[in-house]
């Protein structure tokens, strides 16, 4: 057998966070090896073609990452990054929201309040700074007391929109904040739901701003908005992948890691599982091992109780997976889906009917009032079982159509019509009271339930018109991608107990671990959590610079709100 290979850094997992980390470190001139369990890199950032000509985004589909420093720092434009700009804006055009009695308009106060919270009324680059402060800044070091003065987004508001800065801001829920700044109930309900589906829910205290900004990453005119990258988020991932490889990173697929090798309290490499597509089974890391895989697997299995104290183990076990599994449906139908009578007035405006705009973009339904939202949240996070909310009141959302682009399957598929994804939040399989495989057993029933829910608004999901219903349950998700623990889309909730200096637990909050040379960089483990933001790797870079592992060139800039750890090298230049 060959000799063990050696690299400066070994990254476990080639999801967006692992690959972005590899790109950053390779650009620093380090030798990097990325090990991925699946045949394809990308983690939950992928595209599939289940039947020829039909593209499905099983997981990530929306572009939240626009303000990321990674675009500039990794020069993704040179690596082929392109957006597919939709001619439609979310909040400038389609300003009606779908409720059980039909469309309800939103008001200027809604729009202005929302714009103000998002920094559109201040001086640029207010919005970008606000977003970067919230997501793209490492948590403060443990010796620094977190206060209203030093929380990054608080600093940005204070500078650009002082009337929003209050001592209550960090106590509030997003709904509290919307009550103050916006007007209509259906707008607030829709935004609270969107926030829940983007990580930090609308009714959680202490995360009002992360909740608001995560939705704004999708709705403000200068962010991704309703547009997605060419090739979907997988296309965006490809640009990162290309950046990593062209800076020299070595990427190995079908190479699941079994164990992190720890010698004398230090991570020195990894051992691969025996099914790995490689002769050598041990890969050594001179400087660092980075676990870009889920926090449970990384610490409970790969590091294990031999190296961690029981208190930490318990805390890691307790990382809350409550934050919904997304039950994703895509439909193949004989005739296009149409809005039913109650909503038909918007057929034209929403681009439905024949021609290129033949699938509707529906946003969120039903947004009548926050009671519906509460009912849905309680069903998913409280009841821990099969849904009890009647299908008529299930809240769901619908991905943006790509029909404006003739190269997309939704616009050009010849054998029927392909919908964009419909998603409903359901209980995480791991928390399901009837066992983790309950979703497998109920799949047919759940499919029917989902179709009934969507049929509140669209016609065409009847047996006569339906050719195929692709559905991926949280249980499928868990098997498809080991990183998605609990089958949940972000792995663990983005609430106050698990965000910023508490993510995933205080002991691990700055991407360091009790094992020297071992760092973590996965959505389940690092601030700011889920979404394909290139944020965890950017934040982690600060720490790797502090520890003398990464020495970036002039292209690097640290977060303006970053506070160096005492006694370490500052990641700020100049």
């Amino acid at each position: 057998m060959s000799k063990d290979e050696r690299f400066d850094v070994v990254v476990i997992g080639a999801g967006p966070n692992g690959m972005t980390t590899a790109a950053y470190l390779a650009k620093c001139g380090l030798s990097v090896c990325v090990l991925e369990e699946r045949t394809e890199c990308g983690g939950a950032c992928e595209t599939q073609e289940p039947i020829p000509g039909v593209r499905i985004f099983p997981h990530a589909m929306l572009m939240y990452a626009s303000p990321a420093p990674g675009f500039e720092q990794l020069e993704l434009h040179k690596h082929g990054f392109r957006m597919n700009w939709s001619p439609h804006d979310v909040l400038t055009e389609n300003t009606d929201f779908a409720c059980t009695d039909g469309w309800r308009p939103i008001t200027d106060k809604d729009k202005l309040g929302w714009a103000k919270l998002g920094g559109l009324l201040g001086t640029p680059p207010f919005t970008r700074d606000l977003m970067r402060a919230t997501f793209w800044c490492p948590p403060h070091p443990p010796e620094v007391e977190v206060t209203d003065e030093n929380v990054p987004y608080m600093q940005v508001y204070k500078q650009h929109q002082p009337d929003i800065w209050t001592h209550e801001l960090r106590e509030m829920t997003m709904l509290d904040l919307l009550d103050e700044h916006c007007e209509t109930e259906h707008f607030k309900t829709a935004m609270a739901f969107a926030a829940w589906a983007s990580g930090a829910a609308g009714h959680w205290e202490g995360v009002a701003i992360p909740a608001v900004t995560s939705v704004q990453l999708l709705t403000l005119p200068n962010t991704g908005n309703r547009s997605i990258p060419r090739g979907g988020l997988h296309g965006y991932f490809h640009a990162i992948h290309r950046a990593a490889v062209s800076h020299g990173a070595v990427v190995r697929t079908c190479c699941p890691v079994d164990e992190i090798l720890i010698e004398d309290g230090r991570a020195v490499g990894v051992r691969l599982r025996e099914t790995a597509a490689m002769g050598g089974r041990t890969i050594r890391a001179n400087k660092a091992v980075i676990a870009a895989i889920d926090v449970h697997q990384a610490f409970l299995k790969m590091v294990g109780p031999r190296h961690l104290d029981p208190g930490v183990i318990q805390k890691i076990k307790d990382v809350s997976l409550k934050n919904q599994t997304l039950y994703v449906s895509v439909f193949h139908t004989k005739t296009p889906l149409k809005l039913n009578a109650k909503f038909a007035s918007h057929q034209e405006a929403k681009g439905i009917g024949s021609g290129p705009g033949r699938t509707p973009q529906l946003g969120v339904y039903p947004c009548d009032s926050r009671e519906i939202y509460y009912e849905n949240v309680a069903d998913v996070d409280g009841h821990k079982g099969q849904p009890v909310v009647p299908a008529e009141r299930v809240m769901w959302f619908h991905g943006p159509p790509q029909t404006f682009d003739p190269t997309d399957c939704q616009a050009s598929y010849k054998r029927g019509y392909i919908s964009n994804a419909f998603e409903v939040a359901v209980t995480s399989p791991d928390l399901h009271k009837e066992g983790e495989d309950a979703l497998d057993r109920y799949k047919a029933e759940m499919d029917a339930y989902m179709r009934k829910a969507y049929s509140q608004m669209v016609d065409g999901l009847d047996d006569a018109n339906l050719i195929h219903h692709w559905s991926a349950t949280g249980r499928d998700v868990e098997f498809r991608n080991t990183g998605l623990i609990g089958g949940t889309w972000c792995g663990s909730r983005h609430d106050e107990d698990q965000l910023w200096t508490n993510r995933p637990i205080q002991e691990l909050a700055r991407y360091r671990t009790p094992i020297e040379g071992l760092y973590h960089a996965h959505q389940t483990s690092g601030h700011p959590g889920g979404l394909c933001l290139m944020a965890i790797p950017y934040n982690l870079m600060h720490i790797l610079i502090e520890d003398g592992i990464a020495e970036p060139g002039d292209w690097w800039y640290a977060s303006p709100w970053y506070i160096p750890q005492h006694g370490k090298i500052s990641a700020r230049r100049g």
Binding site: S66, K78, R82, R480
Partner: protein, 561 residues
């Protein structure tokens, strides 16, 4: 680091608060080489040229590079398979695999001994193995004479492959008269020329006596599209049979091969641009100067454009008839598509197929032919297909359980992904859309007859790709042409795609062709891309960092010097 030049401003404006926050790939850019299509050939050409220091962009229409080298979750959710390339025929010869060291940690090739089995309705079977004596043992069940013949003949055939056909795959084509002269130099060459006179059917029936032996070898010879009755390509039979004994599986799926090649493009500083559809090859003053992308108003300009697509797409759609001289136009318009296509059923099941037959090695075979009872039934099936028909009571095909080599294809533990592929007409009588379900059931029934454990309860997911869908996935595989065009004497060797272009250079300056419609042709041989890279390196005057393989050297010394 990709090293290309910006030739104009991009649309990103950092000072515009409501403008886009992220910068994008520019609307106008400049390269040395732009390659259309990131299939195996485009990637190979790109990898060689990028490492040679040229600025290379490989432009790909799909969301994923790889072309036929695809591994996808077509049994969504949770089960993947290889919808197109599954059998890798030239791993032991392909220069790209050696030059880029793609048989170490980067890629793992599996070459099972039990290669191609054939099972018959009465429970008997026959097996083509990598090790000749295992094949002989299997043939001996029917005819000791055939077994002895096989032992002798494959050694001779192997020599033809090893000395001539395999190395010649990676050397520019020669006109027939030159080949005849060169081959006269050795007895092996002379023998090859003699074989060329025969049709596959003649060669096999003249060599072997037993019907089942003939059926297996004829299937192996013609499954990739040789006409069993056509003379002039008999020399392909030794190649096809030798290759049928040496197929490899790419662990992790065929796409892993594409990814490994793609990373070589990137490592050399090249760029791969997916979700980018070329609609025009830009021609200025009779010269190809770049490509234009559909729906995104982007132009990539280049000194050299290489197309890996079929001749119609390249010359009629992208270049435009007005730029073609009469001779080229005529030969492009006369291009013949593949005589048949493939229809493939993929399944995920609780078990791997267990064939009801007299040889346990059949269950481990890389490919198992089912439904063919002898030469007559095989010819009848192919005859039907050529006429646009499928007789659902009499047809056959080959199947493979991919999961037995590759646990990574199934995300759910303990499940097996398998496929059953039949030769099938593009213009099916009755139409594919109307007859799909019926055909799917018939295939399953036939398969189940041979492998009774494939019960409905055992099958957890299935998905079928018909010839029209091959064209939907890859519009340049017109009429489901898996090789972008038929194998027939006038479209082979020096004439693939025609005598003007088979060297990979075309009458249009700056334009090269190097997909499987160019010499040496179809399947993942890695020939066209390699030859294209050689031509471009020579014409642009860059130093080749690579050398011919030892087999090629030997061939050049013996036959060309």
């Amino acid at each position: 680091m990709p090293n290309f030049k910006y030739t104009s401003e991009f649309q990103f404006d950092p000072s515009d608060p409501f403008g886009h926050m992220q910068e994008e790939f520019p609307r106008r850019s400049e390269f040395d080489v732009v390659i259309i299509g990131a299939g195996p050939n485009g990637l190979i050409a790109g990898a060689y040229l990028a490492r040679a220091g040229l600025k290379v962009a490989v432009v790909e229409r799909r969301f994923e590079a790889g072309g036929g080298l695809a591994t996808e979750e077509n049994l969504y959710p949770c089960y993947s398979s290889n919808p197109h390339v599954l059998y890798h025929m030239m791993v032991d010869y392909m220069p790209a695999i050696r030059d880029f060291e793609l048989d170490g940690p980067a890629l793992t090739w599996i070459r099972p001994n039990s290669q191609t089995g054939m099972v018959f309705e009465d429970g008997s079977s026959i097996l083509l193995a990598r090790m000749a004596n295992d094949t002989k043992d299997s043939i001996a069940k029917y005819s000791f004479k055939d077994a002895v013949t096989f032992g002798k003949v494959v050694r001779k055939w192997r020599k033809i492959v090893d000395d001539i056909i395999a190395p010649a795959t990676y050397i520019p084509p020669m006109a027939p008269i030159e080949i005849t002269m060169a081959m006269q130099r050795t007895p092996v060459g002379q023998e090859m020329l003699e074989l060329g006179e025969l049709s596959p059917l003649q060669l096999i029936t003249e060599t072997f006596d037993h019907d089942k032996v003939r059926a297996l070898l004829l299937y192996a010879s013609c499954m990739w599209g040789l006409d069993p009755r056509e003379t002039g390509l008999g020399f392909m039979v030794p190649l096809m049979i030798d290759r049928a004994m040496n197929k490899c599986y790419c662990y992790g799926g065929s796409h892993k091969f594409a990814s490994a090649l793609g990373r070589q493009v990137l490592k050399g500083g090249g760029l791969i641009l997916e979700a980018a559809t070329v609609d025009k090859i830009l021609i200025e003053n009779g010269r190809a100067v770049g490509v234009h992308l559909f729906h995104e108003d982007r132009e990539l300009r280049a000194k050299v454009v290489m197309s890996t697509l079929d001749p119609h797409t390249t010359f009629l759609d992208m270049v435009g008839e007005q730029h073609l001289d009469a001779a080229l136009k005529e030969s492009v318009k006369g291009w013949a598509w593949d005589k048949w296509s493939f229809n493939t059923l993929h399944i995920a099941a609780n078990e791997k197929p267990k064939y009801r037959c007299d040889d346990p090695w059949i269950d481990q075979a890389f490919a198992t032919v089912v439904g063919i009872e002898g030469v007559d039934s095989l010819l009848q099936h192919w005859g039907n297909v050529a006429k646009g028909k499928l007789d659902l009571n009499a047809f056959g095909g080959h199947s493979t359980c991919e999961s037995q080599f590759d646990p990574t294809l199934s995300d759910r533990p303990g499940k097996y992904v398998s496929m059953f592929q039949i030769h099938a007409p593009y213009d099916l009588e009755g139409g594919w859309l109307a007859r799909r379900d019926e055909i799917q059931e018939a295939i399953l029934a036939r398969w189940r007859k041979a492998a009774p454990n494939l019960t409905p309860e055992n099958i957890v997911s299935r998905s079928m790709e018909d010839p029209e869908e091959i064209e939907i996935r890859f519009p340049h595989m017109r009429r489901g042409s898996i090789k972008h065009g038929d194998y027939r004497p006038l479209q082979m060797g020096y004439y693939r795609p025609n005598e003007h272009c088979s060297s990979t250079r075309t009458p249009i300056e700056g334009l090269y062709v190097c997909g499987v419609s160019t010499y040496p042709g179809g399947l993942v041989l890695g020939g066209p891309g390699y030859l294209g890279a050689n031509s471009v390196a020579e014409d642009l005057g860059v130093k080749k960092w690579w050398k011919p393989t030892p087999e090629m050297d030997r061939y050049i010394k013996t036959y060309l010097s």
